[in-house]
Structure formats: structure tokens, C-alpha cells
Amino acid sequence: MYHNILLYLAFAVCGVGLIYRIAGWFRYSIGIHDPNITTSVRITAALKALLSAVFSQRLLTLVRVLITDVLFQNHIRKQDVLRWAMHMLIYAAFTFLVFLHALDEIITTSLFQKYYLALNPFLLFAGFMVIAGIAVAVYRRFVLKVPRIKTDPMDSFVLILLAVIVLSGIALELTKLTSYTHYQRIWNIHFLTCLLGLAYLPFSKFFHMLSTPVSLLVNAVMDKNSDPANVKTRQIMELDACMHCGNCSNRCSVAVAYDRIGNENILPSERMKFLKNFIARKDIGAGGLAAIQEGIYLCTNCDRCTVICPAGINLRDLWVNVREEVIQRGHGVSLMLTPFSYYRGLNRQERDPEQYDEPLRKSLEAVTRPFGLTARTDEPIPLGRAAAEFKERAGFSVWTGSYSFCFSCENCSTVCPVVGNYENPEQALDLLPHQIIRSLGLGIKELAMGSRMLWFCLTCYQCQEHCPQGVKVTDIFYELKNSAVMERGCYPASNGSVQRDAK
């Protein structure tokens, strides 16, 4: 009796949980979206899109994706056969067990009434298949140790729960005829872990058995012209579709930066985890904000993650959109003043001009103002020894100290295409290249570091190439920019496993 109560309870929790999770897709929002798109608008838009897809040629696409990607997972097999084998063993065998064993009263008895006992060896075999799949998963996650692929408690929990369910099931079969007390005890373990898995399904990684197929299907039929209301919904749904497999982090072009900076948000798979929490609780504190800003800005928009994602998540659009949301908050992101902004510039016409310029302005101000000696025109600036330290450190390039060779011929400023672009360059750039080099000679590194010239440098190396004294002007600029970013204290945003050496 109490078994039945527990069973219905687990089903109820699972059902309510599923509704709650799916409702979340329409309630929350991430990135920049039209605030006028309400939950009801989104639900209507989703239903409309669903109907129009089903009653059009796109139905064929959906059926094709359902067969090749959802059922047979061909896209995973093409990438990594071991991973595909692991997943198919678990997923196919477990599905078999669910239908022919867990739901035996409904399915098996009606279909195979007379052959019920003959089915047992197959069930046992399926159990061993699941165990083999779990063994491969454990091997991949804990023995292979692919660099930058993380395993979190949820990944382990899912594997352990599956293992307990299947192992107890196998043990049941084997103890059936030997000992009733053992049988009873193991049966309890088997039954209760199954119920736990069922009740916890919507809130655990198991939820991906629903959300990932949805993502694969939805992304197969959505494109640039899709309704913005559906994009808003899709981007939340995609967070749930991520099963934390780590493929994206493995392929990510800039993931290597994580090895030195240690900010987990650099890795796309870990960033997805961060974002899952972020949607529910947007107040993440200054540290959290800086960490996600740095992580999400360290991206060359190479699209590899989007191409590789086995859940078909459109990560490209998700990153661009969330990046826009997080850079609009806070006091500027120094990485915005690097070529990581290139893709944003290429697509500037997709943004509101003011929304586009404001974070850039804030970032430039944040990185130059602390060294704001350039603004002090009315009082003398004390000379110092800062530049001597700069020269001694010289960790950046063996020639950083070459500024002391400068004899102020101004060749660097003359050939600089940026300087040449302005009627009144000092007004636009603060110090010109030769003045930056001279201020180092005078020991006023702060003066140089507050100069906008550094950040508007094209890095074309004309100055360095044309210096008659061999001053490494462009490389010194790089060094000054590094120092400014570091001393402003906003980088690194986090302290992860790898400590960056303090300069």
C-alpha cells in the first residue's frame, strides 16, 4: 500500500516539477530583449510557431532531426565514437528497461503475456549495458582527464544514481531464488532509488532527456527571422538543454586562457552553469559580475562551440546577447578595449547606438582615470622613480627598457597614422607616442598610463619600425596597457585554481 502512495507521490512531484521547469522557459529572460514581450506573448508565440512548423515543410526537418539526432545521435557519433557509445549504452538500454520492466504492468504484460519469463535474460543484458555505459562515462571523466573538462557533483550524482538503480536491479534477479530477506532489502533500495530518480528528474541533469531534444528540434527550425519572443524563450530553454558534457570547453578557442587566469567563466560549459543561476538571481555582487564580464568577453566569436554542441544550442547568439547584458552593468570592462571587441564592432548596426557606445566610454574612463595626471594641467607633476622599476622589471620583453634610448626626435609621432588622423591630436589622445616614451624617461609612468593614445593604438608597429634609436615603442605600449589593466585591479576578476603571478 505505502509503495503505491510513494509511487504516486513521486509521479506527482515529477509532473509538477516538469511543469514548473517548463514554465520557467517562459517566465525568465537572459540577455537584451524587448521588455514588452510578456510571458503570455511568449506562450502564444511558441504555440503559433509550433503549429506553423508542424503544418509546413519544416515538419520534414523536425522528423529528420528527431530520427538522426535525437534517436540515433548521429551528430555525436561523428564527433566522438567513444562518447556516442557511452551515451547510447546508457540511454538505449535504460529506455528499454523503463518500458519493458518499470512499466511492465502496462506494456510488457499486454504485449508479451506468454513470454514474460523469456524476457528476463534480455532485461539482465540491458542492465549490464547500462553498467558498461556508466563505466565508459567514469573512464572518460575520471581517467582520461581531458584538459579543461570539469565534472561537477551533479554529473557524479547522476552516474551514481543510475549505477545504484541498475546494480540493485541486477542483484534482485540474482538473489530472487536464494534469500527472501536479502531480496526484500534490495528490492527496497531498487524501488526507492527509482522513485528518487523519478521525483528528482525535473531538477537534476536527467531533465536534459526532455530539454536537449527540444533544443535540437527548435534550433533545427529557427533562424534569424524567427519571432523575437521565441528567441527570448529559446535562450532560457537552452540553458536547461545543456547537459554539461564539456565538448564546448574542449573545443573553445580561448579556453587555454583559463589555464593561467583561472576564471571558470572563460570555459563555455562552466559559464552555462553560472548563467543557470544568474537567471533566477541577477544580483551577483561586484565579484560575480566582474567574473562573468571577463569570462564572457574572453571570446573570439569563432563559433566552434555552436558547431560542436551536441544539444544543438545556439551558443553564438546566447553569448553575444548575454555579453551585452553584463557589459551594460558595472563600471567598465577593460577587455572591451582589445580586439575581443571586434565582433561587436562588426555587428554594431544590430545595437542601439547609445547602448553600443556607453559601455565603451565607461571602460575607457575606468582604465585611464585612475592615472588621470593628464587632466592636471594647472599644477606641476612630481618626477619619480616609477619608470626605473618599470625598466628593471622588464618581464615583458627583453627590450622594454629601450625607452631610455629616446632622444625625442618625434619620428614615432610623425609616422603614427592615429596621430595623423586628428587636427588636434593631444585633445583626442592626451599624450602622443614620443611624449609617452619621454614620460617614462622622466619617471612618470602614471602619466603615460592614463593616456588614451595607448588604447587608440592600432598596433601597426610603424613607430617601432621607424625609431632611429631602436626604442620598442609598440611593445612598450603593450606593456603599459597590461600594467594599467592589472593595476586597476579589475583583472583577473577571479582567483581560480591557477594563480596569476603578481607583477
Binding site: 586562457a257 592600432l458 597590461n482
Partner: protein
């Protein structure tokens, strides 16, 4: 002749015609390419913020090529400049060498400096040779005027890149000429395309681009020719954006060098992706003999 092909981030995502045409041309010239899916970003974008992370990112690629036992052929000039810079510093700084190799060792990698990094144009000019190229140009251009845009990070700093004479280079123009096209002399040919500042200071970036375009037009160029995805995007996609933002109407289309060479070698336009540019340059085939 066999190289490890380094594509970087921009080409596969935004300038696939460069990869397509370079592969087609090199294949016909008998240069073999090995792909390495483990290559990642060259490190260039992070140079402004953190030098050592840049070094690690660049060196990891060099170490991977070293493990392949191949020299690298790089299509992007910014990637080329970064990789050369990292290799250059590793040669001169033993402390840095040690520190970096320690980080690389976690992935079982090591870099000892045995890899030569070569830009695509250098491979054509030096390794394949202009004589061999000339022989293969069976369908040369006639009468088309090309402004060759060198690109900064291949040319400078010359003591690091060793690409060509930084003040009076000839390599790119000779490569253009041997396709039968007329390579023009133009004052701003060695200037920056403006791409490094796009997204940081768009006005300045576009002004650099506008100046170059005006200069090339002034000397009568029919097309610009580039060998770097950043330069290409700047003269193609960004020029298109400038046309809509600044309301200027005259355009100067750009071709990627292997497209030009490939056409002259008799390769069909669609195998070189000549319809993949934003600004339509496909009419260049009308200049073929």
C-alpha cells in the same frame, strides 16, 4: 612540401573563402596541408591585457605543430605576427621559456623552437617560388589594376617577422603581377587597414579604412588585394557598413590573394568562393584573358 595549416578564429567563422581558395591553390601547386583540430586562438586579442596569457596561447599552438613535426602555414597576418612574436621571445628569454613550458607540460606539450612559422604569401614566394607560380598561371589577367595591401602584422616589426623589407617591400606586388594583373604603386599601401580598433573606436577604425580606400581609388585601382582575414573584413564587410553609415556610394571591392591567383591558374570561381564576399567582386573574371 607539407605544412601544418593554422586558420585562427576569424577565417572559419567569417572568411571561409580565404581558406577555400588557399586550399584550392596550394593543392594545385602540390603543397600538402595537415589539419590540426587542436589549434586554438593565436593569443593576439589578449595582448593588450595580459602578455603571459598571450604567450601561453601562442606557444601552445607552436608546441602542437612541433609535435606534428611540421612547419606552420598561417593565413591570417595577425595570427602570423603573434606566433612569430611568441617564438621570438622564447628564443631570447630563458626564464620565460621555463615558465611557459611548465604550463604547457600539463597538456603533455613542450616547445623547443623547432617550428618555422610562415605566412601563406611567403610560402608561395619563397617555398613554391615565383617561377613555378608563373608556369601555373595558364589563364592570366589582362588589364586589371590591383592595389596590394600588405597588412601590418606580417611586415612589422621586421626584426621579428622577417617577412620582407619593411620600408620597400616587393613580395606581395610581385605575386600580384605574376597573375597578369597590374600592381599599382600607392602611397598608403603599407598603412594599417583599421581593423584592430573596430569595436574599440569605430570612428577611428573606419577613418583609417576610408583613407586607404580613397588612396587606392585615387591611383585608379579596380580592386584591392589582401592576404589577411581582418584586412579583408575591414575592406569588405566594414566598407559595406560605412557605405550605409556614412552615406558614401563609391565602393572598391577586395579580393583575397588566393582568389586572384586561383583564377589566373584556371581554377573556377565557385571553387575559390568568389561569390562569398559581401561586396560583389565576381565581375573580376571579366578581366581574365
Amino acid at each position: 612540401m607539407r605544412f601544418s595549416l593554422f586558420l585562427g578564429c576569424n577565417i572559419p567563422a567569417r572568411v571561409p573563402q580565404y581558406e577555400l581558395s588557399a586550399r584550392a591553390v596550394l593543392h594545385k601547386l602540390g603543397v600538402e596541408l595537415a589539419d590540426n583540430p587542436d589549434f586554438k586562438c593565436c593569443g593576439n586579442p589578449i595582448r593588450n591585457a595580459d602578455h603571459k596569457t598571450f604567450m601561453l596561447m601562442a606557444l601552445r599552438n607552436l608546441a602542437l605543430a612541433e609535435r606534428q613535426g611540421l612547419d606552420m602555414l598561417v593565413l591570417c597576418m595577425c595570427c602570423f605576427g603573434s606566433l612569430k612574436k611568441a617564438a621570438h621571445l622564447m628564443e631570447r628569454d630563458s626564464a620565460l621559456r621555463e615558465e611557459m613550458n611548465e604550463l604547457l607540460a600539463r597538456e603533455g606539450l613542450t616547445y623547443s623552437g623547432r617550428v618555422a612559422v610562415k605566412h601563406f604569401l611567403s610560402v608561395l614566394y619563397h617555398d613554391v617560388g615565383t617561377g613555378a607560380l608563373k608556369e601555373k598561371t595558364t589563364r592570366p589577367f589582362k588589364g586589371v589594376k590591383i592595389a596590394a595591401h600588405y597588412g601590418c602584422h606580417a611586415l612589422r616589426p621586421s626584426d621579428v617577422t622577417h617577412f620582407d623589407d619593411p620600408v620597400a617591400p616587393v613580395l606581395f606586388e610581385e605575386l600580384v603581377s605574376l597573375t597578369g594583373a597590374r600592381s599599382l604603386e600607392w602611397p598608403l599601401k603599407l598603412e594599417c587597414c583599421g581593423a584592430p580598433l573596430l569595436g574599440v573606436n569605430d570612428r577611428l577604425s573606419m577613418e583609417m579604412t576610408a583613407k586607404k580606400l580613397a588612396d587606392a581609388k585615387r591611383v585608379g585601382a579596380d580592386y584591392l588585394c589582401v592576404a589577411c582575414p581582418y584586412c579583408h573584413l575591414q575592406f569588405d564587410r566594414v566598407q559595406q557598413m560605412m557605405v550605409s553609415l556614412r552615406d558614401t556610394n563609391s565602393r572598391l571591392c577586395t579580393v583575397v590573394y588566393p582568389q586572384l591567383l586561383g583564377l589566373a591558374m584556371g581554377i573556377e570561381g565557385n571553387a575559390l568562393g568568389i561569390d562569398m564576399n559581401v561586396l560583389d567582386m565576381s565581375s573580376i573574371v571579366s578581366f581574365l584573358e
